[in-house]
């Protein structure tokens, strides 16, 4: 138990989140699930950045990077969701394999 520090636990959690998001992003057959897994990856990245600043004397830089990561992640996700709505209007499905087939 003495080896377990807050930083270790949070970094491990961040790694688990990033890999969970990557796995679901690769195997998902729904674009909405892809965006949700992207959000999970952003959660993991934010947690990793935040936990990197826990051990030092000042964690201002880590907090600043998390602040920027939140805004950029939110903006990218919002545009992705808007594109998904347009794709559904155009093709009638959110399955990327079907969309690829309909494109030709």
């Amino acid at each position: 138990m003495s080896m377990l520090t807050d930083q270790t636990i949070l970094t491990t959690t961040a790694t688990v989140l990033i890999f969970l998001g990557l796995v679901v992003m690769f195997y998902s057959r729904n674009l909405l699930k892809t965006i949700i897994s992207f959000q999970v990856i952003v959660f993991g990245a934010n947690l990793a950045l935040f936990s990197s600043g826990l051990g030092g004397a000042s964690n201002l830089m880590a907090n600043t990077l998390v602040l920027f990561s939140i805004i950029v992640g939110g903006s990218v996700e919002a545009i992705g969701l808007a594109l998904i709505v347009l794709i559904h209007k155009e093709y009638g499905t959110l399955d990327p394999w079907k969309i690829r087939r309909l494109k030709h």
Binding site: M1, L4, T5, D6, I9, L10, T12, T13, V16, L17, L20, G21, V24, N30, L32, K33, I35, I36, S37, Q39, V40, F43, N46, L47, F50, L54, N59, L60, M61, N63, T64, V66, L67, F68, I70, I71, V72, G74, S75, V76, E77, A78, I79, L81, A82, L83, I84, V85, L86, H88, L94
Partner: protein, 160 residues
């Protein structure tokens, strides 16, 4: 410093909610679990002296992104958004009410709130960003404005 057990509990809650969100078949359960995961992550940030980061995280992901995700689900019709299991909804509502009641009690009853950070850390972070990272702040504002303009343009596209 927080006890390690609290960190373990919060991390376990975060992982469980994320797994439930990613691997559930119903889109409504996914959205609800993602909302709870955003809340838990915001609580983790807040407990470790990142008040501003936690607040912004909850506002952005548990607030704005949940609403946009819900709108996208409704517009695409990918799920009927039926909660289905009423007992699960009742349990979730009860847990939410209990958490809100407990936090309100500890905030307003004069009970000791040892984990409450001083407001100096928030001001310190803001002054650090303003003093040392002004260009990053400018780029961030441009990215955010560009995203919002693109979003409005995409939603207001006329049918050809």
């Amino acid at each position: 410093m927080m006890p390690v057990e609290v960190t373990l509990l919060l991390s376990a809650a975060l992982i469980v909610t994320i797994i439930a969100a990613l691997f559930s078949r119903s889109m409504s359960i996914t959205v609800i679990m993602l909302f709870y995961a955003s809340l838990v992550l915001g609580i983790i940030f807040t407990l470790y002296q990142g008040v501003l980061v936690g607040l912004l995280h909850i506002i952005t992901f548990a607030g704005a992104m949940s609403v946009i995700l819900l709108t996208a689900v409704l517009m695409t019709g990918e799920s009927d958004l039926n909660i289905g299991n009423r007992s699960l909804a009742a349990v979730l509502s009860a847990v939410t009410i209990l958490v809100v009641a407990a936090s309100s009690y500890s905030l307003f009853s004069g009970a000791p709130t040892s984990t409450m950070p001083s407001p100096d850390s928030t001001m310190e972070l803001l002054s650090f960003v303003w003093t040392y990272r002004p260009w990053d702040l400018l780029i961030l504002i441009i990215i955010f404005a560009g995203a919002m303009i693109s979003l409005v343009n995409l939603f207001s596209k006329k049918e050809r």
